[in-house]
């Protein structure tokens, strides 16, 4: 057996181009799988880091409620007296707001944390990029890098901050890297660390924020329950639900997983065709082995083992390539938030094992069919070189192709907008792609017959057209090219649809001109706002992110609304159907949610959502559904009274304003009138711009997967062209012998390439259009209802480039035919 293995290895090294093609296809598959797995782990780590940036390594924390009439300071003596023994630590901090106002237009409220620096470092380590916290007293502060860059802060700068209605000069002694508390500063609004004693003196209290770490982590739940009861005047909270982290991670990685499946399809196709050619070359050795007594089983074992080894080697190469892919995804996907940019890619043995394992399995399974076909061939046929499958004139696989494509055209409109619909839709699209493969030869035959009847065409053109039908490698190229074009065109349409929807969402879902956050949205502030020149109308809303505990998912936006007027500023579709429900939100714990969640979770009217409000879990009854893609459809509307009561807050999270004479005008007037009351103010245009960058970045990353498919396809096509030339060089020599000139032969080869290019682009584009019928149903579950935006412009550009590329690739056989020796080819081959 070692002799046989040695012979096979030798043949692999001799056919370098073929072996490299197979390895490259396997490596690309493995690279994408590796990058996906690592990206998933990286995102999960990122989501986890983001969600615990506030909690640090603590198990619980207690904070004041922040509503009118609530306790201002935590009774730490009572806490420590009663429960001190259970805590590893109980760090007492102060959390207040500090206003930085270098100008009227540049007003910013930071969250200021007063803490003992050693304690703080123990609960949530600081990583200083500059400066030091050695002298942690007086008015020394630490700021985060994001806002340091924004406001050009440097170490030793003195800045004026307003706290408790008085101004103070603080000196920056350190600038923190975007880690820990400062991880998502831009999203959180900015933090400043100050000595606790200083804030204690300014605000006249000891602590309104206590982080607790238990000696016994297993006591976390009971302690949470106990403290919630015993300290009902405060908020008791703990860390994030793992299921929610998983759900958030899925949202990030799902588009990449979908893209990977489509590219893997291409790779599998290439691996299959490459192995078909590899086994063809093995025919003589297999014939000899069988004729001297080697069993089929042994030969199958050796060949399958060989493919598995190729899978392992390709898989390992793919992991190295995957690092590059991962870096590209990270830098394309993650936008201006430096905290996220600094996220280290997470990968290890698990990711490598998954990638290599998957590559080996894919390769082995893909190679089995050609191997079995080879070893099943009777020995006599191998020896007599009678190997061509008798092409039955009644080869009816094309009928299956038509059925699969027809199914993809007609069935999607009947599919439900839920998980089953998404799966069936995806299956139909894959079926259409599979159906394209047998349909291509059938359609090519029909078209070439038609072309053959055109009277003025030269004979070499007609021969070129005929060759694309009759030569297996050339036909394989058309199939390969069609599939690659179909995948790229489909994915581009998919992303155009999702991207267009995201861009449109802001136009469709934001009917306000300004979004505002006030320090206190009490009657006084709201009265002032109504008097501001340029403010036509406004509505307040409570809004937060909340977990749905009984479905292990989350609401991107839990909105507490006063009445239906809210929807004049943030419209939804199908409002009429939920009018009554919205009017009765206050008649109990009622919630109106979205059709997206309805489909995803199988919700019905009357079902319960167990919503997490800080430390409390409160069941809400679903009384209606609306249609919106806002927050990818993870939205719930409850009454503002319920929100205030259950969340323990009193001030609106956002106030939406409609402007009379332009948003900028109204924005400036609001700032002038409300001054320090304004914590945050953005016009719709500013919000749209910020979102657009993010959308573009996401789709840049995902769309690159489509181009991997095209790259793999092109390499496969080049290999096929080289192989087809080798197979046909005797024919070329012979046809030259009977009088075809070099120029005519080149024209014939160019014709073949043009036919392959045009038909490949044509069939691929048509297939992509068919596959696009499933976009609404596959996307709606993740994205909400969408209108399909076909990538016509991109298809035209891709088509033109594709045909030119095929033309360029035709120089491979043309250059080889120029060097063809007629005698050697005919006589001595």
């Amino acid at each position: 057996m070692s002799v046989i293995v040695k012979s096979l290895l030798k043949s692999l090294t001799e056919k370098k181009a073929r072996t490299l093609l197979v390895l490259f296809s396997i490596a690309v598959s493995a690279a994408l799988i590796f990058a996906n797995e690592s990206f998933s782990s990286t995102v999960r780590q990122k989501v986890y880091d983001a969600d615990v940036r506030w909690g640090g390594n603590s198990d619980l924390y207690i904070t004041t409620k922040g509503v009118v009439g609530a306790e201002e300071w935590v009774d730490t003596d009572r806490l420590l007296t009663g429960y001190g023994e259970a805590f590893e630590y109980a760090f007492q901090f102060i959390k207040e707001k500090a206003l930085y106002m270098p100008s009227l237009e540049k007003m910013h409220y930071f969250t200021m944390i007063g803490a003992d620096i050693e304690e703080f470092n123990r609960y949530n380590p600081i990583t200083l990029g500059e400066g030091s916290y050695q002298d942690w007293d007086g008015f020394n502060i630490i700021v985060g890098k994001a806002y340091a860059n924004e406001y050009h802060f440097k170490v030793n700068d003195v800045i004026k901050l307003e706290l408790n209605n008085a101004g103070y000069d603080f000196k920056i002694v350190g600038i923190s890297e975007p880690k820990g508390l400062f991880l998502r500063e831009l999203a959180d609004g900015g933090y400043i660390l100050a000595p606790k004693e200083t804030l204690s003196q300014i605000f006249g209290g000891n602590s309104n924020l206590v982080f607790l770490k238990l000696k016994d982590f297993s006591q976390r739940e009971p302690m949470y329950e106990t403290l919630t009861q015993d300290f009902a005047e405060y908020q008791v909270k703990y860390g994030v639900n793992d299921a929610v982290i998983d759900a958030e991670t899925q949202n990030y990685v799902m588009p990449f997983r979908i893209s990977t499946v489509t590219v893997l399809f291409m790779c599998v196709f290439i691996i299959y065709t490459a192995f078909t050619l590899v086994t063809l070359e093995r025919i003589p050795i297999v014939g000899t082995l069988r004729s001297i007594g080697c069993t089929r089983r042994k030969i199958n074992f050796i060949l399958i083992l060989e493919s598995a080894c190729l899978g392992i080697v390709g898989g390992l190469i793919g992991c190295v390539l995957g690092l590059g892919v991962l870096q590209y995804i990270k830098y394309s996907y993650i936008t201006v938030d430096e905290a996220l940019l600094n996220t280290r890619a997470v990968f290890g043995v698990r990711e490598v094992a998954v990638a290599v394992g998957a590559a080996t399995i894919i390769t082995t399974i893909t190679a089995i069919l050609p191997i079995l076909r080879l070893t099943k061939t009777p020995i006599k046929n191998i020896i007599l070189n009678d190997l061509n499958r008798k092409q039955s004139r009644r080869d009816l696989w094309w009928v299956a192709g038509i059925i699969l494509l027809a199914a993809c055209i007609f069935i999607p409109q009947f599919l439900p907008n839920n998980f089953i619909g998404m799966v069936v839709g995806g299956t139909l699209a894959t079926g259409a792609l599979l159906g394209l493969i047998p349909l291509v030869p059938f359609l090519t035959h029909q078209i070439s017959r038609g072309i053959g009847k055109i009277p003025f065409l030269g004979q070499e053109i007609i021969l070129g057209v005929r060759n694309t039908c009759d030569n297996k490698s050339l036909m394989n190229n058309i199939q390969l090219f069609s599939v690659a074009i179909a995948i790229v065109a489909f994915m581009t349409s998919l992303f155009n649809t999702m991207g267009a929807d995201l861009f449109k969402a802001f136009e469709r879902d934001m009917k306000f001109d300004i979004r505002l956050v006030l320090r206190h949205s009490d009657a006084d502030s709201l009265a002032k706002l109504s008097q501001v020149e340029g403010v036509e109308s406004f509505a307040g809303s409570f809004q937060s992110h909340a977990a749905i505990l009984n479905h292990e998912t989350f609401l991107n936006m839990l909105c507490g609304i006063d009445d239906e007027d809210f929807f004049k500023f943030n419209p939804v579709q199908e409002l009429d159907g939920a009018k009554e429900a919205l009017a009765n939100l206050d008649n109990g714990k009622n919630v109106v949610t979205t059709n997206v969640l309805k489909g995803k979770l199988g919700l019905e009217l009357g079902d319960t959502l167990l919503i997490q409000f800080g430390s409390k879990q409160i069941p809400y009854t679903i009384t209606g559904f609306v249609e919106t893609n806002l927050g990818i459809g993870h939205v719930g509307y409850i009454s503002s009274n319920n929100y205030r009561e259950d969340m323990g807050v009193s001030d609106y999270d956002f106030i939406f304003v409609k402007a009379q004479d332009g948003a900028e005008n109204a924005k400036n007037n609001i700032l002038r009138a409300l001054n320090k009351e304004v914590m945050e103010i953005y016009t719709k245009e500013e919000l749209t711009r910020a979102n657009a960058d993010k959308v573009v970045a996401i789709f840049n990353a995902i769309s690159s997967y489509g181009y991997f498919a095209l790259l793999v396809g092109v390499i496969g096509i080049i290999n096929n062209l080289a192989v087809s030339f080798i197979e046909r060089q005797r024919n070329f020599a012979m046809i030259r012998c009977i009088g075809m000139s070099k120029k005519s032969l080149n024209r014939m080869l160019i014709t073949e390439s043009i036919v392959m290019g045009v038909l490949g682009v044509g069939f691929g584009t048509l297939c992509a259009l068919v596959m696009s019928t499933v976009i609404p149903v596959t996307v709606s579950l993740l994205w909400g209802r969408v209108t399909v935006q076909l990538a016509f412009r991109e298809m035209v550009v891709m088509g033109a480039i594709g045909i030119l590329a095929m033309l360029a690739i035709s120089f491979v056989p043309i250059l080889r035919s120029d060097k063809l020796s007629l005698i050697e080819t005919i006589k001595y081959e």
Binding site: N388, Q459, E460, R466, N467, C469, D470, N471, R730, N731, M734, I735, R736, C737, I738, G739, M740, S741, K742, K743, S744, L822, I823, I826, K827
Partner: protein, 230 residues
């Protein structure tokens, strides 16, 4: 008589690794119009090489070959190709038909490559198919034919443009004796009835009796040229 082919002081060598192998040495001969010449010799004597040089499929290393007065070395690719379409026909041992064309398409191919329309040549093709005896198989592809039928098709293809010369490289090498005999009869018939000059490379002494002259080669040199007396 007219001289169809003149071979003057022809040398031919091939490069093999570091050394040069001389296959033909100072070959001189003339072929008259209407002759049927067999070229014989042991393996490696250079007989096929000589045939291909005369047929313009290869270039001499030294010397010259004139075909119908034209010096072969001086022809460019277009002129050579035109010559192969119109002036000569080739028949090979392995038939060398195109698998994805039918018999009639294979036969018409040189004429179509020459720019003629199908309707102009179809009658001629049918006539040739009749002569060689394959008219009933015209719509079959080469894979569906026997060796003898394929070789007849190759002969018909070689004749479609009414060439002056037919080159045959071991035309019966892959055939059984019965088919082989029939092919040789056909070549003889073509030579006599149509006056086409035939040059045939063969291993078989028996085959030479269908022709009129035998040229024997040994180690790249012409050792004899004699008439066949039957």
């Amino acid at each position: 008589m007219n001289k169809m082919i003149e071979v003057r002081n022809v040398y031919k060598s091939f490069q093999l690794a570091d050394s040069s192998v001389e296959v033909l040495k100072n070959v001189n001969l003339e072929v008259e119009k209407g002759e049927f010449i067999s070229i014989m010799g042991p393996s490696g004597s250079g007989k096929s090489t000589l045939l291909y040089l005369m047929g313009g499929l290869d270039k001499v290393s030294q010397g010259s070959i004139l075909l119908n007065g034209k010096e072969m070395q001086k022809l460019n690719d277009d002129e050579e190709s035109r010559m192969r379409r119109r002036d000569i026909g080739f028949v090979f041992q392995a038939y060398n038909l195109i698998d994805n064309l039918t018999l009639d398409e294979n036969i018409m191919l040189p004429a179509l490559l020459d720019g003629k329309k199908k309707k102009e040549v179809i009658n001629k093709a049918e006539e040739l198919m009749e002569i060689v005896g394959i008219l009933g198989r015209r719509k079959h592809t080469p894979k569906e034919l026997s060796g003898g039928e394929q070789q007849r098709t190759a002969i018909a293809r070689a004749l479609i443009n009414d060439p002056a010369i037919l080159f045959a490289d071991e035309p019966i090498g892959n055939l059984d004796s019965k088919n082989g005999k029939e092919i040789l009869e056909l070549l003889k018939k073509i030579n006599i009835e149509k006056g086409i000059t035939v040059l045939m490379v063969t291993h078989s002494e028996e085959s030479t009796r269908y022709g009129k002259k035998v040229i024997r080669l040994k180690d790249g040199e012409v050792v004899s040229a004699s008439e066949i007396r039957i």
